[in-house]
């Protein structure tokens, strides 16, 4: 009993400290007034934090490019990019103020909102979900349905929405399902091993190590949430809307710049993430373009969000038992981020 008490006390105290520690919002840079203020008194840029939900990889290239090309500075912002990893609690970090912006996926956003985190989506990097399952080509498997009834091991994140989706659609009874914690080491070593992956990442790394993967997109199965979706908390949007808009504008510029020339940002990320070779960075940057630029983004601007897709996703999550009721999209999706009434910012 005593053992539990001490652990409980320490946990409570630290969690209470974390919960109470809502950081004060960054001092609002008078961006509006700055335009008309005399050049001599330039307001200090607002310091903001962006939390990434994975290690620095090309999926975040546009953010680093926004910093390097000065897009953030031009919008009166100074952004610190916090790299993440497996299990990075981005929704929690943004909800409690540990970060001002974060990347997560649309399904995680809806789940977090249902648990009381008032987060708001701003910009979707991946318009098509890159979530996929990869297996060895030597097994001669031609579809995800066939893979999931062929036996062997499947490494997939327990409890994730796409896991629940695939389980519901095809069932996992024939497979040995284990948690996925990153990398391709086990995949390369075992021919009967299949794992979740990002279309743009793990298969390329596996090929470099001599494996022949075949990749099945989860989006093709009907589950296609926005991925690497930039979110913030409503509190920040209400207190400093110009900062949020400036951030989104800068991110859009950064991604435009990254799509045209990924090398400078890739060089920076390669130093931060030494597990991926610089050539792989370039390859991935090329492969992911088709997921980022679609007809919709060409019409309405990069990162645009769509009301219908959020509604579809909400309903899917309810059917999967992850949400109790479908969220009201208008409560969190602001029209200005759906490309309505704004000229596409190239």
């Amino acid at each position: 009993m005593k053992k539990v008490c001490w652990v409980g006390v320490l946990w409570c105290l630290s969690a209470l400290a974390a919960g109470c520690n809502r950081e004060k919002p960054a001092p609002a840079a008078p961006a509006g007034e700055g335009a008309s203020a005399p050049a001599a008194t330039k307001p200090a840029p607002a310091k903001l934090k962006l939390a990434l939900d994975w290690v620095p990889e090309p999926e975040f290239g546009g953010f680093y490019a926004a910093r390097e090309t000065g897009a953030f500075a031009r919008n009166g912002l100074e952004v610190e990019v916090l790299g993440g990893g497996a299990g990075a609690p981005v929704p929690q970090m943004v909800a409690t103020g540990k970060a001002d912006f974060g990347t997560t996926s649309a399904d995680e956003l809806l789940v977090a909102r249902s648990r009381g985190a008032d987060l708001v989506p701003l910009f979707a990097v991946y318009q098509v979900s890159p979530m996929a399952i990869m297996a060895h080509a030597s097994r001669g498997i031609t579809s995800l349905e066939q893979l999931l009834s062929a036996g062997g091991t499947l490494a997939i994140e327990p409890g994730a929405p796409y896991t629940v989706f695939l389980k519901k659609k095809y069932g996992f009874d024939k497979m040995k399902v284990v948690p996925y914690s990153g990398g391709v080491a086990r995949f390369v070593a075992d021919k009967e091993y299949a794992q979740q992956c990002f279309l743009t990442s793990e298969p390329l790394v596996a090929k470099k190590q001599g494996a022949e993967p075949v990749v099945f997109k989860v989006a093709d199965e009907g589950f296609n949430p926005y991925v690497t979706l930039v979110v913030t908390r409503r509190e920040l949007l209400q207190k400093s809307p110009e900062q949020v808009r400036g951030f989104v504008q800068a991110v859009r510029e950064g991604w435009r710049s990254y799509l045209e020339n990924p090398k400078p940002a890739n060089d920076i990320m390669a130093k931060l993430n030494t597990a991926m070779a610089p050539e792989t960075f370039a390859e991935v940057a090329e492969v992911q373009k088709q997921l980022i630029e679609t007809d919709e983004t060409r019409a309405k601007g990069l990162g645009v969000l769509s009301r219908e897709r959020f509604e579809t996703l909400g309903q899917q999550l309810v059917d999967l038992g992850l949400l109790e009721k479908a969220p009201v999209v208008d409560e969190f999706l602001l029209p200005e981020f759906t490309g309505v009434g704004s000229a596409p910012a190239k």
């Binding site: 539990v4 919960g19 909800a95 327990p158 409890g159 948690p179």
Partner: protein
């Protein structure tokens, strides 16, 4: 008799209630968001609602923890006996048994999956690695602290090595052995949970470690807390069982079992 029971049971129970009240009040007063720190009422509600899932998961984890613990007890005692047979051997090999204590299991667990394949075998191996050292250390200490006068007595009577071991050393070392086993019991559960994070099956028979991962992923922090408390409870049950066995065996002739 009743007053003795009250005196030993009442204070920890009262402390528990005070802690729970503080926790519940604190969370409500400070309006801490539920997915950061759920109040005890939410954890309790989750425990009730998901009781069957928690019980099934606890059973799966218990199986692996018990397997690892059993292996620790056996292998640990054997290694200690081996080391006790020669001072040279002990000096040569003891530092490497220490390595089993200090190796970070979180880093080793993926290797275990590579060698044993995912599932209960790797999880039990993880539980074994984490819990074996206390058994070795305490058993060795117990054997070494046999009364020298008794050793001389055995030698005077011309007792063979095996007889000395079985009739003198192991019975003398029993209290130490049980100390080691008590420590190992809690560690075995920890090892099993950590092993599950990396190697546990997450479908069908999913253990508490997987439940923690899945509930964390879905921001069901109340269920996560319930699972963690279950794991702690599992450790306590195993600890209690070992303590009880020790008390029974030593009851008649050793002061440590009163």
């Amino acid at each position: 008799m009743r007053s003795v029971l009250l005196r030993s049971v009442l204070p920890p129970v009262a402390a528990l209630f005070a802690l729970l009240a503080l926790w519940e009040g604190g969370v409500r007063l400070l309006e801490v968001q539920a997915f950061l720190l759920p109040p005890p009422s939410a954890v309790f509600a989750s425990g009730v609602k998901d009781a069957s899932q928690l019980a099934a998961s606890a059973w799966v984890t218990a199986e692996a923890a018990l397997a690892g613990f059993g292996l620790s007890a056996l292998a640990g005692a054997l290694v200690a006996v081996l080391l006790s047979s020669s001072r040279l051997l002990e000096r040569a090999l003891y530092p490497y048994t220490l390595f089993l204590q200090t190796v970070p299991i979180v880093a080793i667990a993926p290797l275990l999956v590579l060698w044993f394949g995912p599932g209960q075998r790797a999880v039990a191996a993880s539980a074994f690695i984490v819990s074996v050292f206390p058994v070795i250390a305490n058993t060795l200490s117990g054997i070494r602290s046999v009364d020298p006068a008794l050793r001389d007595l055995f030698r005077l009577y011309g007792a063979r090595r095996l007889a000395t071991l079985l009739k003198l050393e192991l019975p003398s070392a029993l209290p130490h052995i049980f100390t080691g086993l008590r420590i190992a019991s809690g560690l075995a559960v920890i090892g099993a949970i950590v092993g599950e994070f990396v190697a546990g099956f997450s479908e069908g028979t999913a253990g508490l470690g997987i439940l923690v991962l899945a509930s964390y992923r879905q921001l069901r922090t109340d269920l996560m807390f319930a699972a963690v408390l279950c794991a702690a409870g599992l450790g306590i049950v195993l600890f209690g069982a070992v303590s009880l066995a020790g008390a029974r065996l030593l009851r008649r002739w050793h002061p440590s079992a009163s």
